[in-house]
């Protein structure tokens, strides 16, 4: 069964993170890569005097579009149809996979080339196609590394961020031959050599392909124009050479008009790769005789998005333009990497998107909103100002409420007892006296060391000060008498 947003069998975040944190190579790769992208982004966003206004414009456009998503999508369907394309509606991953599989079958082909796409990764399209005997070849360099390595993507933009060039050489030498043109025996780990091996391997696929599958960064409802931005030109090859093009796009990617691209084509490259302009911007409007694919299909994917739209706080996550700036600045992501999130959408945006797409009843998805210190670096970096910390605490409340039952969990009991204590100055005063005595009983040299029970994880690596013998309020009462009550 193909995955649907989350990867089957991934443990909850704390456990998955523990495994990832023990991988020293991963830690080194991530530290280097996120640090580099972070600095590049700061340089190119800092040079624009109107960067904040651009962010405001992007946020406003996205929120306004989401409020009237239904009518924009109908407009898009009309425009694409008029331009010679065919629009399909998919309520969930299974339906989208079925539509794409049938479209490929109708061509009589058994292989497709793919443009890097989050939507098709989200629905597990490659696995679904494989079940029907269709081979899907990833052509984005990083996606190719992931596919050849029988691996999972760990970053939205740079899915092989967890691999270094020595590892990539081993993957190319080991697996390229099984998928097509083999890598040369004397392949080095020089970037130029690795790129050349990938180029030769992929060229064979591009020239043979009759069907391509892509995602979309945007679609303009007024003209029916669909667009993909990328850095390598491999996407351009897929979008222009084959006869049939099938595009799977989340319904939230629609924009009211072509002119709105002015904002997003500035926000996206600066936030994602730290470039002023992305190297390849491909746009197509239906089909054009004698130029590019003669058969174009647009599959509009819901897969939990309408449900997300129904959440007034959570819906802002649908404004995401998949730039991954939030991943690169996140102190949690920088240390755990993407696999720990157990989803095609990792990092802060994944922590707010995944639980909404799959629901907080899922234990693994429900652990994701807690995978943050709420430090707010993601909100500062987001080009469309998604208030990720706000959505995180909102989803935490949904996750907690989902678990509330007739019998409270140990955590709920602790939180209820704490609320009783902390909401009353009198009860807080008693707790302080009790805590001061208890703290003294377990302390040594003015510090509390290792503790058993729920505080074990904290105290394994941190000393804790002893609660004060005299609380502040007791001191005030003693020295200043009655306060204003």
């Amino acid at each position: 069964m193909p995955d649907n947003v989350t990867w089957l069998g991934t443990p909850a975040f704390p456990e998955a993170a523990r495994t990832a944190l023990g991988n020293n190579q991963l830690r080194t790769n991530l530290r280097k890569a996120t640090g580099t992208i972070r600095d590049k982004r700061l340089a190119v966003t800092g040079e624009l005097a109107d960067w904040e206004q651009l962010r405001d414009a992007g946020a406003a456009l996205k929120l306004r579009t989401l409020r009237h998503l239904d009518s924009h999508l109908v407009r898009l369907e009309e425009a694409v149809t008029k331009a010679g394309g065919t629009v399909h509606w998919a309520a969930d991953a299974a339906e989208a996979n079925r539509i794409v599989t049938e479209l490929v079958r109708a061509t009589g082909q058994t292989e497709v080339v793919k443009v890097k796409s989050m939507a098709t990764a989200e629905i597990g399209l490659n696995e679904a196609l494989a079940e029907s005997g269709i081979s899907a070849y990833e052509t984005d360099l990083a996606e190719l590394i992931v596919q050849l390595g029988d691996d999972r993507p760990s970053h939205i933009l740079v899915p092989a961020i967890h691999r270094n060039r020595a590892e990539i050489r081993e993957i190319f030498r080991g697996a390229m031959g099984e998928w097509g043109r083999a890598a040369p025996d004397d392949l080095t780990d020089e970037p130029r050599d690795l790129a050349e091996a990938a180029r030769l391997h992929l060229r064979e696929k591009f020239l043979r392909a009759k069907v391509a599958v892509s995602g979309a960064n945007f679609a303009a409802a007024d003209t029916g124009t669909v667009g993909v931005v990328e850095s390598e030109g491999n996407g351009r090859m897929c979008l222009t050479l084959p006869e049939t093009l099938i595009t799977v796009m989340g319904i939230e990617k629609v924009l009211p008009s072509f002119a709105d691209l002015e904002v997003f084509l500035q926000l996206l490259p600066r936030s994602s790769t730290g470039e002023r302009m992305n190297p390849y911007t491909s746009m197509w409007t239906g089909t054009t005789e004698g130029d590019g694919p003669s058969d174009f299909h647009l599959v509009l994917l819901d897969n939990g998005r309408t449900a997300t739209l129904g959440d007034e706080v959570g819906r802002q996550a649908l404004g995401c333009i998949r730039c991954s700036a939030c991943l690169n600045v996140c102190p949690v992501y920088e240390r755990t990497g993407g696999h720990a999130y157990g989803s095609v959408y990792p990092g802060p945006i994944g922590a707010v998107l995944t639980p909404q797409l799959v629901g907080v009843a899922d234990k693994q998805a429900a652990s994701l909103p807690f995978a943050s210190t709420l430090c707010g670096a993601c909100y500062d970096a987001c080009p469309v100002k998604i208030n990720i910390p706000e959505v995180l605490v909102h989803l935490r409340a949904r996750a907690v409420d989902e678990k509330r039952g007739p019998v409270p969990s140990p955590e709920t009991l602790v939180m209820k007892a704490a609320a009783m204590t902390l909401s009353s100055p009198r009860r807080l005063g008693w707790a302080q006296r009790f805590g001061a005595i208890g703290g003294r009983l377990v302390s040594r040299g003015g510090r509390i060391g290792r503790l058993p029970g729920p505080l074990k994880r904290w105290s394994d690596t941190r000393d804790t000060p002893v609660p004060a013998r005299e609380s502040f309020r007791a001191w005030w009462q003693r020295t200043r008498g009655e306060g204003r009550s």
């Binding site: 430090c375 605490v393 935490r396 807080l428 000393d463 609380s471 009655e482 009550s485």
Partner: protein, 234 residues
């Protein structure tokens, strides 16, 4: 000016010296400090952990305790942020009082950067996440520290990176928290500072707890305590 002190339940219990320092400092600057005895907790821990139902009553109680004050000061960036950004979310009926984190009160409201402090130590400053990105205190704490006599203020590398505390995050995701703490401690130690300071004792308890466990010899001191310190203090 008459200023109400919101001590926060955490400082009240664990770090009363920080509260005493705020009182001493503000009185030294010629202001009157009240401690409304009806105050307890702002509800941040419950709110941030998803227990909104439990946090909501604390919001009403907070507004009641501080009703009528034109300025409330607190030695905690994250509790100030909680009141300012989220009390209305929890209870739209409530009108939260104007709460200022200490450096905001001093620099913005009272218009002072030299508070007449003396602290002859090598100090590095960690800008806590909520001070920095919820309250946007910017360099106000640094302005105050630079004016302290005798201080040897050294810049903390990667200062704006989170220390990994995050309230219940440190318990729920202890391994990730440890990894973040390790990097923060490495940066603190690289400065050669004797004292790490910040505007939040929760972050300081976290980083200080790690520094203490490793016997690094680096201590922690809340910003208020440095600003309150004077010549002749022990």
């Amino acid at each position: 000016m008459r200023i109400a002190l919101f001590i926060t339940c955490f400082n009240d219990t664990m770090f009363p010296d920080t509260g005493k320092a705020v009182v001493r400092l503000l009185e030294r600057l010629g202001h009157t400090v009240d401690f409304p005895a009806g105050q307890a907790c702002c509800g941040q821990m419950h709110f941030n952990t998803g227990y909104r139902r439990e946090a909501k009553p604390m919001v009403g109680r907070f507004a009641e305790a501080f009703a009528g004050y034109e300025a409330v000061v607190t030695p905690s960036g994250s509790c100030a942020g909680m009141v300012r950004d989220y009390h209305k979310v929890l209870d739209p009926e409530v009108d939260p009082p104007p709460v200022y984190e200490l450096s905001e009160l001093l620099v913005d409201v009272l218009g002072v950067t030299d508070v007449g402090a003396y602290f002859p130590h090598r100090v590095t400053y960690h800008p806590t996440c909520h001070s920095l990105r919820m309250l946007r205190v910017g360099d106000k704490p640094l302005k105050l520290l630079r004016a302290v006599r005798g201080i040897d203020l050294v810049e903390l590398p990667a200062a704006e990176s989170c220390c990994g505390f995050g309230g219940t995050f440190a318990l729920k995701n202890a391994d990730t928290s440890d990894a973040m703490l390790a990097d923060k401690m490495r940066h603190v130690q690289s400065t050669g500072a004797e004292v790490l300071t910040a505007g939040d004792n929760s972050c300081l308890m976290h980083i200080g707890g790690g520094l203490s466990r490793l016997r690094t010899g680096v201590g922690t001191r809340h910003l208020a305590e440095i600003l309150a310190a004077q010549e002749g203090d022990a």
